[in-house]
């Protein structure tokens, strides 16, 4: 009988162990020194959800602002009011085109391969003409595709930017008016990318990079106004856009020649001092300073843009007998100018962050890290077009997963400066590129 008691006791202890479940042991998200009364999000298309060269409701729901807002709500921020497009709308690009997806495209040689395709022939113009502002429910997110740092005080912005027009309180209100009326207690700002993109995407033909003085004054005026009420915020540096797939996908030496073609080109170009061999060769580009024919071989440290018409390259001798026009090339002088300007702007942004005691996101470092490639929870992330997993199909704006990784940089910066414990997001819960 005693034996049975012993056995019973042991069995009981065993069952007691088996029944115990492990408890959650995670720290609670806390807001630290943040005032969450009124959190707003300011920026260009990257903040607002522009991706795959377009904006629609799905992309807005995967925007930098949306992902940040989701996490801010975990520490007690109020629900965020987004200027969502209509669910049914396919959306629109800054050029009036439809956003893109990955599909099969047949080239001039009849070869079908994966390529970004427009979702429709044209974008949904109607979604920009309709104004959705409601005084009772002002928006918290001002992610205006195309917005530059010198446009905040522009009272005519509504007339020139449909994305602003659709959410502005009046046709004469400037961005600054809208932002000041929100009386934000905390702002998250990412501006400046569009200041340099125009120059970069035009192959240096749009010579409109702002002067340092102009950039400094515009940025400082914005911060001065935003912090007048004592608000805190986070700001972000500008990446070296030449590290983005739009500028790195087409190889400088993508001209593949057989013996016969190499010999033909040598007979044409040898007198100018350019030589070709069987296999990979540099493309020919326009350069007015090169020689009397204004043509030379591209150098390995110069970039071809994704806007390059590939069918012309493949079938119509572009880059061979017809040199590639300046608008598709960032030559080394243009790149040096672009990079030095970005570096100067970033010095200004870093100084302002210190001066105004704001958190700072090193976007330039983040984009360089992507360019170098890194592993995130078992997944290789890189700046490779399509396969890299972080950029959308336009090669410039991040896709949902890229936005999530970028949002984590914001969260780290905010936590560091304001002693909050906002959890980062699991970026792998957000889409990369969908394949057919």
């Amino acid at each position: 009988m005693k034996t049975l008691h012993y056995i019973g006791f042991i069995v009981f202890c065993g069952l007691a162990f088996l029944s115990c479940k492990q408890k959650e042991q995670v720290p609670l998200p806390t807001k630290g020194e943040l005032d969450l009364t009124n959190v707003i999000y300011i920026g260009d298309g990257q903040m607002g959800g522009y991706m795959n060269d377009g904006l629609n409701k799905v992309s807005q729901g995967n925007s930098l602002a949306y992902i940040l807002a989701t996490q801010m709500e975990l520490i007690g921020a109020n629900p965020t009011n987004f200027p969502f497009l209509n669910t049914a709308s396919i959306g629109i690009s800054t050029n009036g085109l439809a956003p893109m997806h990955l599909g099969y495209k047949t080239d001039c040689k009849g070869i079908s391969s994966l390529s970004p395709l427009r979702d429709a022939l044209i974008g949904d113009q109607s979604c920009l003409s309709q104004n959705i502002y409601q005084a009772a429910h002002p928006f918290d997110v001002f992610g205006i595709p195309g917005l530059k740092s010198n446009q905040f005080t522009n009272a005519n912005l509504s007339a020139t930017n449909g994305f602003f027009h659709r959410m502005s309180s009046s046709t004469t209100a400037s961005m600054m008016n809208e932002l000041m009326s929100r009386n934000a207690s905390f702002f998250q700002l990412y501006i400046g990318l569009e200041d340099v993109l125009d120059y970069a995407k035009s192959g240096g033909t749009h010579e409109n990079l702002p002067s340092e003085l102009e950039f400094q004054q515009n940025y400082e005026q914005l911060l001065f106004n935003l912090t007048l009420n004592g608000a805190k915020g986070v700001i972000a540096t500008i990446p070296d856009v030449s590290q983005m797939p739009y500028f790195t996908t087409i190889p400088w030496n993508g001209l593949s020649l057989d013996d016969v073609n190499a010999a033909t080109l040598n007979s044409i170009y040898n007198p100018l001092g350019y030589y070709f061999q069987t296999g990979a060769n540099p493309f020919m580009i326009v350069d007015s300073t090169a020689n009397m024919f204004a043509v030379r071989q591209i150098q390995s440290n110069e970039l071809l843009l994704l806007s390059l018409p590939l069918d012309s390259v493949k079938c119509n001798q572009m880059g061979v007998l017809f040199p590639i026009r300046d608008e598709f090339v960032l030559d080394i002088e243009e790149l040096n100018l672009l990079r030095s300007k970005i570096s100067l702007y970033n010095t200004i942004i870093r100084n302002l962050a210190q001066q105004y005691h704001l958190a700072l996101v090193n976007t330039d470092q983040f984009i360089t890290n992507l360019s170098d490639g890194f592993v995130y929870n078992g997944v290789n992330m890189s700046a490779k077009f399509v396969s890299g997993g972080a950029y959308s199909l336009d090669g410039i704006y991040l896709n949902p997963r890229g936005n999530a990784l970028f949002a984590n940089e914001f969260i780290k910066a905010i936590n560091l400066t304001y002693h909050s414990t906002i959890p980062q997001v699991n970026a792998l819960k957000y889409d990369g590129i969908r394949f057919p």
């Binding site: 012993y6 929870n377 078992g378 889409d431 969908r434």
Partner: protein, 411 residues
């Protein structure tokens, strides 16, 4: 407070950080009596399971014996990602290691000789993570199964000294699954499954020396067994447009089970009390790299070599038994083992850590032929790490419990 209560008390104290798999992915459940005493018993003849613990000690069997045992493993791992503060759990099926031993003791002129056959499962765990967990691209499921078959000879050189050895043939299977970070048009992720059968060979040697009627020393060496998968099948589920990048086909890989050198002691304190201590040196250093060699490589599918960099470790196991009468034996014990997994190399398949564990057990002899043993093992371990290869950064909390039972028949 009688002796039993004291033993139980000690057992629960030992179960400090109480919780399963042996160190690494080994399963150390090969005998109920030893399990009851902290998995120690190298310097002891217990029953036919001694064929595993020390083939030399098996020479001291008084009778022929058959021993059948199973130890269901209830293991649960809870992972907290440090960046997102999100938690995920394993949904492991119950592990079912078993063992079967037959020991035949010769009579008359061949009397010092015993022969035996041991069948046991030193691998045998399945780790299954919950769907969509944050480490899904590192691992979603790993199932290792192996049966070791060990024919053994034991010879009693004198009343004090016994030696023995066995040849080990192992046959097993491995199934490793993970998600692939490519999405189809609906957003579903790809999936990879690597499955294959493995065989391996090894040996198990042992010697037991009785210093006197109370004190014994045992020394054993179980060799490394390399489980080699030569013709595994890799299957990939990916979007149609990427199928050429992920060709289904064969692969090869190998997983080593390390050699173990054990020095064991046993000491009879009195008629009723016995103490045992085992010191293991496990040569985990052999698990340097986990490599998968695919028959067909593409730009997306290259052979992988994942550094594991395990280090060799010591483990200490000890326990006591108390025999109040001829029908009953109570046991308790515990152990401590250093982890072979170094910082930067903790993976979701073996979230290992330094561990303490505690065990208790008892035996009941119904009659001279038949007896029953039971044991209970518990451990709990915590490991925080950032894996250098996958960058998974978080804390694994493992709890493992294993109640076991065996039936013995001797004649």
């Amino acid at each position: 407070m009688n002796a039993l209560t004291q033993i139980l008390y000690v057992a629960f104290l030992l179960s400090c950080p109480l919780s399963i798999f042996g160190q690494g992915f080994q399963v150390n459940f090969q005998g109920q009596k030893q399990q009851g005493m902290g998995c120690a018993g190298t310097a002891l003849y217990t029953d036919a399971s001694t064929l595993f613990y020390n083939p030399g000690a098996a020479a001291f069997a008084n009778k022929s014996e058959i021993n059948l045992a199973t130890t269901p493993i209830f293991a649960h791992v809870h992972y907290t990602d440090s960046a997102t503060q999100l938690s995920y759990n394993t949904e492991n099926p119950v592990g079912t290691p078993f063992s079967a031993y037959g020991l035949y003791r010769f009579k008359k002129r061949l009397e010092p000789l015993s022969v035996g056959l041991a069948v046991y499962t030193p691998f045998g765990s399945t780790v299954q993570w919950e769907p969509n967990w944050i480490g899904r691209f590192a691992l979603t499921r790993l199932s290792l199964k192996a049966i070791f078959i060990q024919p053994t000879f034991s010879y009693r050189i004198s009343e004090r000294l016994g030696i023995g050895g066995g040849f080990v043939l192992s046959s097993g299977s491995v199934n490793l699954q993970k998600d692939i970070p490519v999405q189809d048009s609906l957003g579903n992720y790809g999936h990879a499954e690597l499955a294959g059968k493995a065989i391996g060979f090894g040996y198990n040697l042992g010697v037991l020396f009785h210093f006197d009627s109370r004190f014994s020393v045992g020394l054993t060496y179980r060799s490394k067994v390399s489980m080699a998968v030569s013709d595994g099948q890799a299957s990939f589920t990916v979007p149609n447009s990427l199928a050429p990048n992920f060709p289904n086909g064969s692969f090869s890989a190998a997983l080593p089970l390390p050699s173990v050198l054990t020095l064991g002691f046993s000491y009879d304190v009195s008629e009723k009390w016995k103490l045992v201590l085992d010191i293991n040196h496990v040569n985990w250093k052999t698990y340097d790299t986990l490599a998968f060699d695919y028959a067909q490589n593409t730009s997306s599918l290259s052979d992988t070599k994942s550094a594991r960099n395990y280090k060799s470790i010591f483990a200490f196991r000890g326990g006591a038994s108390y025999t109040p009468n001829k029908h009953l034996v109570f046991r308790a014990g515990g152990g401590f083992g250093f982890t072979p997994v170094q910082a930067g190399f903790v993976t979701p398949e073996t979230p290992d850590a330094n561990r303490c564990y505690g065990t208790i057990g008892f035996s009941y002899c119904c009659n001279t032929h038949f007896s029953v043993d039971a044991s209970f093992y518990a451990t709990k371990l915590t490991r925080t790490d950032r894996n250098l290869e996958t960058q998974l950064n978080g804390t694994f909390r493992t709890v493992a419990l294993a109640p076991g039972i065996s039936l013995n028949y001797k004649w």
